[in-house]
Subunit: 221 residues, 2 copies
């Protein structure tokens, strides 16, 4: 660590990420160089490369920081809420809330990352570790609830797809403070929870099985 304590290195990394996100927003992701990022962070020209291999790595750190920020709120909901709809809605809204200051940069990132083969896409191989940890939180939302057996194994991934859909809605929401998205999450979570409960009906088990098989065969992550 070249004499730096891990703590200090971490702060420098966070500062670089913060400065980079502002530059990406102002002048675009493609046009911004690592040299400019270092300079804007008050560091020597090569310093950004000391901490990050590339601009892409910088964005992964941004994703990671956002994930870590939303964790305490997500944990709180999982500890306190019993109802399935509220657990799902709470976890999704926790992620949106910590992302609020970054909505504009998120729009820029969406344009870059919409293609699933782009490493920065939430569906990419490079995103697997973070995606798995997000899916794990959604798996925990389901704890304490009876589930159709076929559906149970795939539900966390399906809920993660639902969460991605809510993020897409949030990105394009033009209502004041994006309040419409938060209402939409509450209402769709209630619908999703009732669908999960309905899926235990024998009449729907054939449908559930087909839907799950299809998801598994054609999912893009």
């Amino acid at each position: 660590m070249k004499g730096k304590t891990p703590k200090k290195a971490e702060l420098t990394r966070a500062k670089i990420v913060d400065v980079a996100m502002r530059l990406f927003l102002d002048q675009g992701f493609e046009k911004t160089t690592m040299r400019e990022i270092a300079s804007a962070a008050g560091l020597a020209p090569g310093a950004a490369y000391y901490h990050f291999e590339s601009k892409e790595h910088l964005i992964f750190d941004f994703y990671e920081i956002t994930f870590q920020k939303h964790l305490p709120e997500a944990e709180k909901i999982l500890a306190e809420e019993k109802g399935l709809a509220k657990r799902i809605a709470g976890v999704v809204k926790a992620h949106l809330k910590v992302s609020e200051p970054y909505v504009e940069i998120s729009k820029v990132l969406f344009r870059i990352a919409a293609d699933p083969v782009n490493p920065l896409s939430p569906f990419s191989k490079a995103s697997k570790d973070l995606r798995d940890r997000n899916i794990e939180i959604l798996r925990r939302c389901l704890q304490g609830h009876k589930l159709d057996k076929t559906l149970a194994a795939k539900l966390p991934e399906l809920l993660w797809m639902y969460k991605m859909g809510m993020i897409l809605y949030w990105l394009h929401d033009t209502s004041p403070k994006r309040s419409k998205t938060y209402e939409f999450v509450d209402k769709t979570s209630a619908l999703v929870a009732s669908l999960i409960q309905l899926s235990r009906l024998p009449v729907l088990s054939g449908f559930s099985k087909k839907a799950v098989d299809l998801f598994e065969a054609y999912k893009i992550f």
Copy 2:
């Protein structure tokens, strides 16, 4: 029409659209000027503006041409196929098939048009007329099939959302000749058709009503 027969003007318009699409693909939408488009089409510098108000209008013509090209195949399916799944799949695949030569430009357009407030987005106000005609074809897919009453009014729009989803999958499909998307359309259409049939069960009517209300309140078009 300045002495031109409508037929000739139409051919010139189609030629301009064709040339423009190639330029957008090669050098990007933003960077391409109307002057360059005219020149590449072998016309006088101002000629592109004689036929099109702006680059955006050019893209609307491209959408319209694609729609018109897929119509005969869609009509054929509606006349010949009785089964709900095959009618839906056939209409969706007809649109994909005529779009095959334009998949690369469609990826470029997707990046521009992903935002629903962008006039070029399929969800925009400016796209309403074309969207309504596409929704009308999906309404006709449902003819001759018994539907849950609550769902019936909104199903054509929901099917159109489903079609948009399939186009998104197609855009990102890396399988040879995008054959995976065509299979996926067949299988998801079967699932959608069985869900439409299941929705007539009394146990699901509450769910259908809530889902339709939510769609109506939060849809982005």
